[in-house]
């Protein structure tokens, strides 16, 4: 009986997830083919990247000073999405599900700004 309920839940889950998909979501591993943004010299080296809905962007911190990627509410994003601090050579990948312009900063360095335009 329990396995039946679990199976039913699993069957429904993908549909429910698709309906409730967040406009952006953190992805644990970067798939090939996504856009890349390097972080160096207190800057997002490509401050504006364009991707299509469903594609990913991966940020790589190339310097010893920790940085992160912190999205502010807007473009369908209701709450802040504050990424973890990245040390040298660490990465952070986000999948963009919905078209729009997503502005972000580095939390401790708010003068570091960037945006992702999702078409």
């Amino acid at each position: 009986m329990r396995s039946l309920i679990l199976a039913a839940a699993l069957a429904v889950a993908p549909v429910g997830a698709a309906l409730a998909a967040d406009p952006i979501e953190v992805v644990s591993e970067a798939p090939s083919g996504g856009a890349e943004v390097k972080i160096a010299k207190m800057k997002f080296q490509t401050p504006e990247v364009k991707v299509k809905a469903g594609e990913t962007v991966t940020w790589t911190n190339t310097e010893a000073l920790p940085h992160n990627v912190h999205f502010k509410p807007g473009a369908g994003l209701e709450k802040d999405l504050e990424g973890p601090m990245l040390r040298a050579n660490q990465t952070f990948t986000v999948k963009f599900n919905t078209a729009g312009t997503y502005n972000y900063i580095c939390t401790p360095h708010p003068f570091m700004t960037g945006k992702v335009v999702v078409e």
Partner: protein, 410 residues
């Protein structure tokens, strides 16, 4: 040394009851106690005479003496404690004439005419956690009663070790401006006349707020320029950057001196190079930079250091800079000397040795100013005559870690 602790409200009421209000009020109103007599001894004498005359005690809530340019505000951030205090000191008598309470890392302001003082502060519903409330509190300088309590939406304050020019009043004392660091650089505008938060002005990557007119203020930007912000009607604000006036490796300290009355901005670097800008015209005119120390002195380790490391006296056009021999990167350690410098010529007028560690300096803006030297470690405000270089009085027991001196240029 005198324990000049005369807090307002409940504590003051208790003190008055102990001493007899008439005697106590007379003591507060009187000038400095005779050299050989402490304030405590004078108070005891007055209370004994009161008692001998058969007079009864009639406890009252006292008011502070009339304000003057020697009213000194000493803020105690208390080493980042959630609850903090400000001590109001009468420089003439070297007495605490009131106190106010505040929350986490408040920014004090004092009206240029002395008509009020206040703070931008932060509290939490459970001391240091729970719902956060940022607010502005304005106090009457005689009764210390709050006359305004203005809440700031969305907790916008920049929580930082207290930098006086992260919060400022416009010259007409009707608008309060405060800095927001995160999520993006901005300046909050609060209309004190209507007691309402007005709006937030988005600014580039710039810091500090130096009001020049009631509609204009300057900031200092990461790229080494100043930013002029003209506050327009209906929120149509305009910003423009000046030329870059300092090199990237010339590190300006967090505590510049600024005189709103003549628009003079005095901004030392870690090595004692002093940049000055005259903002009085509404445009930034950069004056020739001054070197506080000779090359030989620099080689011998002389450099500025402390918290409020610099003060500026408008009437005499003099700069007071804390300095000492120190290792590089010890710029926040206290100094045992203050260097008095003619702001126009850059010439050193005097070197005063405190004989103790001083973290912050301030100066009253009257014709014969008092020099205020605050020791965070000793929790004591020392008052000096800058002409003779002699200590004239001291007020101790100023909280846990007092750091900020504020005076009004009345």
């Amino acid at each position: 040394m005198t324990h000049a602790h005369t807090p307002a409200r409940p504590m003051l009421r208790m003190s008055a009851a102990l001493l007899g209000s008439a005697a106590f009020a007379a003591l507060l109103a009187a000038g400095p106690a005779a050299a050989a007599e402490t304030h405590g001894q004078a108070g005891a004498k007055a209370a004994a005479a009161h008692l001998a005359a058969g007079k009864e005690d009639d406890p009252v809530v006292l008011e502070a003496p009339a304000i003057n340019p020697r009213r000194v505000y000493v803020n105690d951030p208390a080493h980042f404690a959630s609850l903090t205090q400000q001590y109001v000191i009468d420089g003439d008598t070297a007495r605490v004439v009131g106190m106010t309470d505040s929350g986490f890392l408040p920014n004090p302001v004092v009206a240029s005419d002395g008509s009020f003082f206040g703070q931008v502060s932060t509290t939490f519903e459970r001391i240091s956690r729970g719902k956060r409330t940022d607010y502005i509190e304005i106090f009457d300088p005689k009764t210390y009663k709050p006359t305004a309590d203005i809440e700031l939406p969305n907790a916008p304050r920049f929580l930082v070790g207290t930098y006086p020019w992260m919060t400022a009043l416009t010259p007409n004392n009707k608008t309060l401006l405060f800095y927001q660091f995160s999520p993006s650089p901005a300046v909050g505008v609060v209309d004190l006349a209507s007691k309402k938060f007005s709006r937030t002005i988005s600014v580039p990557d710039c810091y500090h707020v130096f009001p020049v007119t009631d509609q204009t203020f300057f900031m200092h930007c990461r790229d080494g320029s100043l930013l002029k912000v003209a506050m327009g009607a209906d929120g149509k604000d305009e910003t423009a950057k000046t030329e870059v006036f300092r090199k990237e490796n010339e590190y300006l300290i967090n505590h510049p001196a600024y005189s709103p009355k003549n628009g003079r901005l005095v901004w030392p670097t870690y090595t004692g190079k002093i940049f000055q800008a005259d903002l009085s015209s509404g445009e930034a005119k950069f004056l020739p930079a001054i070197e506080a120390f000779t090359d030989e002195e620099k080689k011998a380790g002389w450099a500025p250091g402390g918290w409020q490391q610099v003060a500026y006296h408008r009437g005499s056009d003099r700069i007071f800079l804390l300095g000492d021999q120190r290792a590089q990167w010890k710029h926040k350690a206290p100094s045992r000397f203050v260097f008095v410098i003619d702001a126009k010529t850059g010439k050193r007028v005097k070197k005063i040795e405190f004989g103790r560690d001083i973290d912050s300096v301030g100066v009253s803006q009257d014709a014969k100013p008092q020099l205020y030297a605050l020791s965070t470690g000793e929790k004591t405000l020392f008052i000096y005559d800058p002409e003779t270089g002699k200590e004239t009085a001291a007020v101790n027991q100023l909280g846990h870690g007092p750091q900020v001196i504020t005076t009004a240029d009345m």
